[in-house]
């Protein structure tokens, strides 16, 4: 008996996307209600799936009932369900923010949004390497549409760079997949994991090449140094809810790195074991430094948040690069925190830009904003979260990462870089905050600010702030239920480091 719940998070947004395309002629209200209820259903589905896989069970869905490794399989384990619930929560908040006006700035917003979720959920659930490529393309194609949504010169140019670099990335992905298939004769990840362990010695160099080529592709998606240069412009110039949704996009790269390099090229891969370990940690540390330098140098708030995303990717991959059960668990705790915090910061930056009129989000003294106190409080909470100060979840995440690093040979490097970059993040955010809030001028001309705010059609009402606060509440929840969540991510990390369960569940054999 196949458990059909595994395919629901994939098929549901696809069907809803098609339905929304048919409903284009209906009023905007119908579209919005359909879209929001669809994403709400996804939250429930992901929560249900999480409760099923929580006891360590691995659900396998063979598409078309073709037995693996011949057909494509979808696999739901703890990691996949964890990523699904994070995606669903972020996308719900971003969508609620978008229906305040962003979705009217161009056609087919809601359709693209559902297809984006289709691609994301598929990438997290698939157990087939070529199918992972296909879902990457689906989520990228939808993301191109969403990134360019609304138009504008800067957005088009950032979009062009984003599209071209991702097309090159897709080509590299196909070269890697082709090489692996040519040598090992399979694309099923579980089957690859078995075949890679006893590969002929003359093929080792080629397999290593393919594995590292895949790493380059995932590093590009995750925005790891030196492949992060596309991110700041793309994220800073797109509309705020899309930037908030894209907070999960870099995590797709991080997820793929974690999945492929624990399952296929992990401990048990014989001569190719731990393929990327010499690369991952140094590159992650360098990414963190580069990201924080960008944070310090930014001239606009949105740009600063985009560089904070780069820095958070660095921190996340440091945790994965430690490559112990504790390190991966720390990373999996930090992952939802950094996603929610970055999404909240993008939405807040948009709220600030809309309230400041002509000065927008540039770091120059402007007018006092509407709802100054609420905006200021939210900014303070986000800054505390992002910088990793106690008592919020950012602190717990960074503390877990440093604790996991204690047993690592590169401890001095990790300790020094994580702590010093945290200090610089605090300095940069304190400077932006004091400039935005303390050096604001008297409100003699608040009506002109209202007349000229940058994005017509979006009024700086209090609802946007409430949605931002919801994302922050998710971070607070991560902190309050930290005990239970750490237990869960610890179990997830243990499951990842023992891929035998995964392989047995997929192929139904004893290794």
């Amino acid at each position: 008996m196949i458990n059909h719940i595994v395919i629901l998070p994939v098929i549901w947004p696809l069907l809803l996307g098609a339905l929304l395309l048919l409903l284009q002629k209906q009023s905007l209200k119908v579209l919005r209600i359909a879209s929001i209820s669809s994403v709400s259903v996804l939250v429930l589905l992901a929560g249900w799936l999480l409760s099923i896989v929580n006891d360590g069970e691995i659900l396998v869905y063979a598409l078309g009932n073709w037995p693996p490794p011949f057909g494509i399989v979808l696999v739901a384990d703890r990691l996949a369900a964890w990523m699904l619930i994070i995606t669903a929560l972020v996308s719900l908040c971003a969508l609620l923010y978008a229906v305040r006006g962003t979705d009217t700035m161009g056609p087919h917003f809601h359709v693209l949004y559902q297809l984006q979720l289709f691609g994301l959920n598929g990438a997290f659930l698939t157990g087939d390497l070529f199918n992972l490529f296909v879902f990457f393309e689906i989520l990228l194609l939808a993301s191109y549409g969403l990134l360019l949504h609304g138009g504008g010169r800067l957005r088009t140019m950032a979009g062009l760079h984003f599209v071209i670099i991702n097309l090159v990335g897709s080509t590299l992905f196909l070269f890697a997949v082709g090489t692996l298939y040519g040598l090992l004769g399979t694309l099923n990840m579980a089957d690859l994991a078995i075949k890679v362990a006893d590969v002929a010695s003359e093929d080792i160099a080629l397999i290593r090449t393919a594995g590292l080529l895949l790493f380059a592709v995932f590093a590009l998606k995750a925005a790891l140094l030196p492949l992060y240069l596309w991110l700041p412009a793309a994220y800073a110039h797109t509309s705020a809810p899309i930037a908030a949704l894209f907070a999960i996009m870099t995590k797709v790269g991080a997820y793929s790195i974690l999945r492929i390099y624990t399952l296929i090229f992990g401990e048990q891969a014989g001569p190719i074991a731990n393929l990327i370990q010499p690369w991952l940690l140094p590159l992650a540390l360098a990414t963190l430094i580069a990201g924080v330098l960008g944070v310090l140098a930014s001239a606009r708030l949105r740009q600063q948040v985009a560089y904070l995303v780069v820095a958070s990717v660095g921190t996340l991959l440091i945790a994965f690069g430690i490559n112990t059960s504790a390190g991966i668990a720390a990373g999996l705790y930090y992952l939802p925190h950094s996603t929610f915090a970055a999404a909240a910061f993008f939405l807040l930056a948009d709220g600030i830009a809309n309230r400041r009129g002509e000065t927008s989000d540039r770091f120059e003294p402007g007018l006092i904003m509407m709802h100054q106190r609420i905006v200021g409080t939210l900014f303070f909470i986000v800054a505390v979260l992002v910088a990793g100060l106690p008592p919020l979840s950012g602190f717990v995440g960074k503390f877990l990462i440093l604790q996991a690093a204690l047993s690592h040979a590169a401890l001095p490097w990790i300790m020094a870089i994580v702590l010093i970059t945290s200090l610089f993040t605090i300095i940069a955010l304190a400077r932006s905050g004091s400039l935005l809030f303390y050096r604001a001028q008297a409100p003699q001309a608040i009506h002109t600010a209202m007349d000229t705010h940058v994005q017509p059609g979006i009024t700086p009402d209090i609802n946007g702030l409430v949605i931002t606060a919801c994302l922050l509440a998710l971070c607070v929840a991560l902190m309050i239920w930290a005990g239970a969540i750490i237990e869960f991510v610890q179990a997830t990390a243990n499951q990842l480091l023992q891929p035998d369960d995964y392989i047995q569940s997929v192929l139904g054999i004893e290794k």
Binding site: L141, G151, R153, T156, M157, L160, I164, G178, Y181
Partner: protein
């Protein structure tokens, strides 16, 4: 035959990389197209080059051509076709909005 196909793929990929690094959008689009041709051929060849062998089960035949790369390459062709169409339209849009076809939107004399 292997050497010939390998040289062909290498040439296509080399041209693709060179063109993708140019500063105008039109050569970049051409370069991406060449790269996708190279990777499509590469995928097909990964099933090993065989001549006159059936890809599906036939009575009394022992040797088969690998059918999976053909399915893979079909998917890859469809995706790269869609992507090329998209990037062409995007380049045109960028050209209209920027007033020139430089990838960074800069004015050059």
């Amino acid at each position: 035959m292997e050497a010939l196909v390998a040289i062909l793929i290498g040439t296509l990929a080399g041209c693709g990389v060179y063109l993708a690094l140019r500063s105008r959008t039109f050569p970049v689009v051409l370069g991406l197209t060449f790269l996708s041709y190279a990777v499509n051929l590469f995928l097909l060849v990964m099933g090993r080059l065989t001549i006159g062998k059936p890809p599906i089960i036939v009575e009394g035949v022992a040797d088969y051509a690998d059918p999976l790369p053909q399915a893979l390459v079909l998917t890859a062709i469809v995706i790269s076709f869609a992507m090329t169409a998209f990037v062409i339209v995007l380049s045109l849009k960028a050209h209209l909005e920027m007033g020139n076809d430089h990838v960074d939107g800069k004015h050059k004399p």
